[in-house]
């Protein structure tokens, strides 16, 4: 019996599905604390709405485009429209021991949080209607194909042997470089660079970071798609990278002034994003290096972005894009089949070819996501406009776009 359902694996993935779902509201709070009080509801909504939007899109056609029968390695076919035939029986192409429907649900949570990550780029000024349209187009034309390339059966990057355990390319580099492109298209917030734009509630942000860390166990360890040794390794590497990145970030912050709580929380999330592609392929000691290197990379990435006067508001590019780029590279260095027989060896284990494949996947993901996002954002800007009016921006999007206020 090759395709018998394993109750242990199924139970674990059901839990992981819930853990990854939790990450989207966690991200909403993580972001919500960093904006001004007049935009906190708007910022929460930008993330939260994806549970509704992609929750529908994924069932209707998103899953099929990402994981349907491959058309030339570029996109999935329409054979799973409406999740037709995606039920209790396992799909051996993806996970032999859990129901196919559970795999689809688990993947849905990734499709939900990835566009939510991008929203950090354009908070406090985006027009909600344009944002919704952009998000649907992005999920369909960017996420679904990219997901297919890397994880779909027959997808071309996956077929080349690209190692991306839980979404370094598909989730974090995609979100980071799309955020960069969108920020360039929409322009800075009013007063950016002239007046300090302060986070209004670091408490929310720290709480969000904590919940993200918890959820990330589902994200990474769940990506083993089984309750096995690879899952345990992924959980350990995830925790180790978050810990070392948090520590290093705290020290960097301290050297510049004081050990900032916002910095500590940010460093932890950066460590989590960095280790994501490598979590199921590297040892915990390698993960410690991954986190420790990711922290200064993103820390000074933020500084660089700020010096360039670019208002990529909540640093999705520096925190997710840069960290996970390094994570993908690190995967090509530290990956070992001793950790995961289904993976590959990296440069340090005698396989330099893997690094080349990783670099190709990074380059393709950056170019595709940046280019496509910039194009879509610019087209929307020219046609219906990406931004709210100056008056609406000054009043704050909570009132002007949603008609509610967070604190009365």
């Amino acid at each position: 019996m090759g395709n018998a359902i394993n109750t242990g694996d199924t139970a674990w993935l059901l839990v992981c599905c819930s853990l990854v779902l939790l990450m989207t509201p966690a991200l909403a709070f993580f972001y919500g604390g960093m904006v001004r009080r007049k935009n906190v509801l708007s910022t929460l909504t930008l993330s939260f709405v994806f549970m509704a939007l992609i929750g529908v899109q994924w069932v209707l056609y998103g899953y099929s485009l990402a994981f349907g029968k491959s058309i030339g390695g570029l996109i999935g076919g329409l054979n799973y429209l409406g999740l037709a035939g995606v039920g209790a029986a396992p799909n051996p192409d993806y996970a032999k021991t859990i129901p196919h429907g559970l795999f689809a649900a688990f993947q849905m949570m990734f499709a939900v949080i990835t566009p939510a990550l991008i929203t950090g780029a354009f908070v406090e000024r985006v027009r909600f209607k344009s944002f919704l349209l952009f998000s649907l187009i992005w999920a369909t034309l960017v996420y679904d194909p990219l997901c297919h390339w890397v994880w779909g059966k027959g997808g071309w990057l996956g077929a080349l042997g690209c190692l991306d355990f839980a979404g370094g390319t598909v989730v974090h580099i995609a979100a980071g470089f799309s955020a960069l492109a969108f920020a360039l298209a929409i322009g800075p917030r009013k007063g950016f660079g002239k007046n300090p734009i302060e986070p209004h509630n670091i408490t929310l942000t720290v709480m969000g970071a904590g919940l993200l860390w918890v959820g990330w166990f589902g994200f990474n360890a769940g990506s083993a798609l089984a309750a096995n040794g690879v899952a345990v390794n992924a959980l350990l590497t995830t925790n180790t990278s978050a810990a070392s990145a948090g520590l290093v970030w705290m020290v960097l912050s301290w050297l510049d002034g004081r050990p900032s709580p916002l910095g500590l929380a940010t460093g932890m999330v950066v460590g989590l994003a960095a280790v994501t592609p490598a979590s199921g392929f590297v040892t915990p000691m390698a993960a410690m290096v991954i986190g420790a290197v990711a922290a200064p990379l993103s820390y000074y990435g933020i500084r660089f972005r700020d010096k360039r006067q670019l208002d990529e508001s909540l640093d999705v590019w520096a925190c997710h894009g840069l960290a996970s780029t390094w994570g993908m590279v690190a995967c090509g260095l530290f990956a070992t089949t001793e950790v995961n027989a289904a993976g590959a060896n990296g440069l340090f284990y005698g396989n330099p070819g893997q690094l080349a494949i990783q670099l190709l996947a990074i380059g393709v993901t950056m170019a595709f996501t940046f280019g496509a996002t910039f194009l879509v954002a610019k087209l929307l800007d020219w046609s219906i406009g990406l931004r709210v009016t100056t008056m609406e921006e000054e009043v704050g999007l909570d009132i002007s776009a949603h008609g509610e206020r967070a604190y009365s």
Binding site: L252, S253, D256, G257, I302
Partner: protein, 133 residues
């Protein structure tokens, strides 16, 4: 003459100032949470990556309207109770008040700022005619 004191003090000195004023019999006061900066121009905060300048700091403004015969000792009490010696201790503004009217009784002037047990009653100097005027 009626005077208004507007004292801008540290947030964490409010209780000390209130205490000092209550002890000397200043009964009525209003407190505002305000934001601003003085000569120092603000402070440096730690952010996500490095530090940044904040020029608007939260301060407390205490407003008191009183007879000018009580002015000097009231100012002295605030000076003592709001003092730390560090930058940011604040400022005291004093200005004349044209008229005060208590809504419930329609009392005007000195009568309107009098309360039972306040500084004037303690001095035995109630009433419409302040000494020396």
């Amino acid at each position: 003459m009626l005077k208004k004191i507007e004292a801008i003090i540290r947030e964490d000195k409010l209780n000390d100032v209130k205490e000092a004023l209550r002890e000397m019999g200043i009964v009525g006061l209003n407190v505002f949470e305000i934001r601003g900066h003085g000569r120092q121009g603000g402070i440096t905060l730690t952010g996500r990556s490095g530090t940044y300048q904040v020029d608007m700091l939260t301060k407390i403004q205490v407003n008191i309207v009183l007879s000018d015969r009580n002015l000097d000792e009231t100012i002295e009490a605030i000076l003592r109770s709001a003092y730390t010696g560090e930058s940011g201790d604040g400022l005291i503004f004093v200005s004349p008040v044209e008229e005060v009217i208590r809504i419930r009784t329609r009392e005007r002037g000195y009568d309107a700022v009098m309360y039972p047990g306040d500084i004037d009653e303690r001095k035995g100097q109630g009433g419409t005619k302040p000494p020396g005027s």
